[in-house]
């Protein structure tokens, strides 16, 4: 799958995540970054770095954090934008019957 297609998919994942957390906002692309704007006025710039670093999060040019991958990125964004959103945890139970 091309990087363009993946970027579009990542954009949609982030937009869908906002909805899941109950945050009103939008995600757009600007050159090498995804821009996440909430209706409450928060703007976060997300830059996809090389694989070893994953994602860089900037707010007002200040580095807000790094995430090795999408799971960490989503976690950081939720904590930043929707700290009260429901937070689940994967539990692995007994083997299948």
């Amino acid at each position: 799958m091309s990087s363009h297609t993946i970027d579009r998919a990542a954009e949609r994942v982030l937009h869908g995540a906002l909805r899941l957390w109950g945050v009103e906002g939008a995600v757009s692309r600007e050159r090498d970054a995804l821009i996440l704007r909430t209706h409450a006025g928060t703007k976060v710039r997300l830059v996809r770095a090389a694989a070893s670093r994953g994602w860089l999060l900037f707010q007002d040019e200040r580095l807000l954090g790094e995430a090795a991958g999408l799971p960490g990125l989503l976690r950081q964004l939720r904590e930043e934008l929707a700290p009260r959103a429901a937070r689940g945890r994967l539990i692995v139970g007994s083997p299948l019957p």
């Binding site: 799958m1 297609t5 993946i6 998919a9 990542a10 949609r12 994942v13 869908g16 995540a17 909805r19 899941l20 957390w21 694989a51 070893s52 994953g54 991958g69 999408l70 799971p71 989503l74 976690r75 939720r78 429901a86 937070r87 689940g88 945890r89 994967l90 539990i91 692995v92 139970g93 007994s94 083997p95 299948l96 019957p97």
Partner: protein, 323 residues
């Protein structure tokens, strides 16, 4: 010691759970069955309607099993096992739990899947939901809990078919769309083939992993498909993200997954909300279709979002992979 299977009979108020159970217990094949009945009222009545030896029927009163007496359920099941070991009750081979009509089966299933005290001695059997052929459509429309009961079931028993035809009134189609992987059985006055209720369903049955997209009453059923194999790490990350962010919106997820590291041996994944069985591995694909199929039953999750999530995660895992 082989874990004793615990099956759960759920279904909305008046849908025929007790009638079904009563009839099942008269079946010689189910002679060695212990029963736990939970009732919502202050005084239990349902146990009086079930004809079986009293010492193998235990009552859980004082609340609905899903929200108030979940710990009691696990303790009661543990007590039954202790009494069996001591010879105080006949040697049963299975336990059946009848829930209240208002119970959400998910916490009960979670308790049976995850409680450490009983994990070695008990295992989750099947989850059976009864749906009334006459009132079923109206009940599903009016009571979200009844939708959840049917959505989480491994088998659905349509009762009271002498009063209404589920094919004619749309109930059969509604249930098929809601939970396509669950076999639908009919029961007249509780009469049903017990072997089809309690025998473990083959996890390699391809029908479990097929679902045309459907939306009704706030419940979405759809199937994610992927022709390229997924990395094992992608699968793990996908389940983590879904459990972390989707919460109770995910009702059920069942999948047959083509994994890069396990060519020709697909992984079987099953989860109820955020609780999953460990992946199991089949020796071979069940039919000629080798694509990954993940059936999702949810309250408001977007199929496209989950599909995109899978693609982005796999792309990241690929980028980090040492080839």
């Amino acid at each position: 010691m082989t874990p004793t299977p615990v099956s759960v009979i759920t279904g909305f108020l008046g849908s025929g759970k007790t009638t079904l159970l009563s009839r099942l217990l008269r079946d010689p094949a189910l002679e060695r069955t212990a029963v736990i009945i939970n009732e919502f009222g202050a005084v239990g009545l349902d146990h009086l309607l079930v004809e079986s030896s009293d010492e193998q029927i235990l009552m859980l009163e004082g609340g609905c099993v899903c929200c108030k007496v979940r710990g009691d359920l696990v303790r009661t099941a543990g007590d039954l096992l202790a009494r069996r070991a001591a010879g105080a009750v006949p040697a049963f081979e299975r336990i059946v739990v009848e829930t209240t009509g208002l119970a959400d089966p998910a916490p009960i299933v979670h308790a049976l899947m995850t409680d450490r005290d009983v994990a070695e001695s008990l295992r989750l059997g099947s989850v059976i939901a009864t749906v009334d052929a006459a009132a079923g459509v109206e009940t599903l429309d009016a009571h979200p809990q009844s939708v959840k009961q049917a959505a989480l079931a491994d088998r659905i028993v349509i009762t009271k078919t002498d009063l209404a035809d589920p094919a004619a009134n749309g109930l059969a189609a509604r249930l098929q769309a809601l939970n396509p992987g669950a076999p639908k059985l009919t029961a007249l006055h509780g009469a049903v083939d017990a072997s089809r209720l309690f025998d473990g369903r083959a996890r390699n049955d391809p029908a479990l992993y097929e679902a045309p997209a459907h939306h009704h009453g706030g419940i979405d059923t759809f199937c994610l498909r992927r022709n390229e194999p997924l990395h094992a790490a992608t699968l793990s990350l996908f389940l983590q993200v879904v459990a972390e962010h989707c919460g109770a919106r995910l009702l059920r997820l069942k999948g047959l997954v083509d994994v890069v590291e396990s060519p020709g041996r697909p992984a079987v994944i099953h989860g109820v909300q955020h609780v999953f069985h460990p992946p199991a591995w089949l020796d071979a694909w069940p039919n000629e279709d080798r694509s990954t199929r993940i059936v999702v039953i949810s309250q408001g999750l977007d199929a496209r979002w989950l599909q995109d999530l899978l693609e982005v995660l796999d792309d990241e895992v690929k980028a980090c992979s040492i080839s």
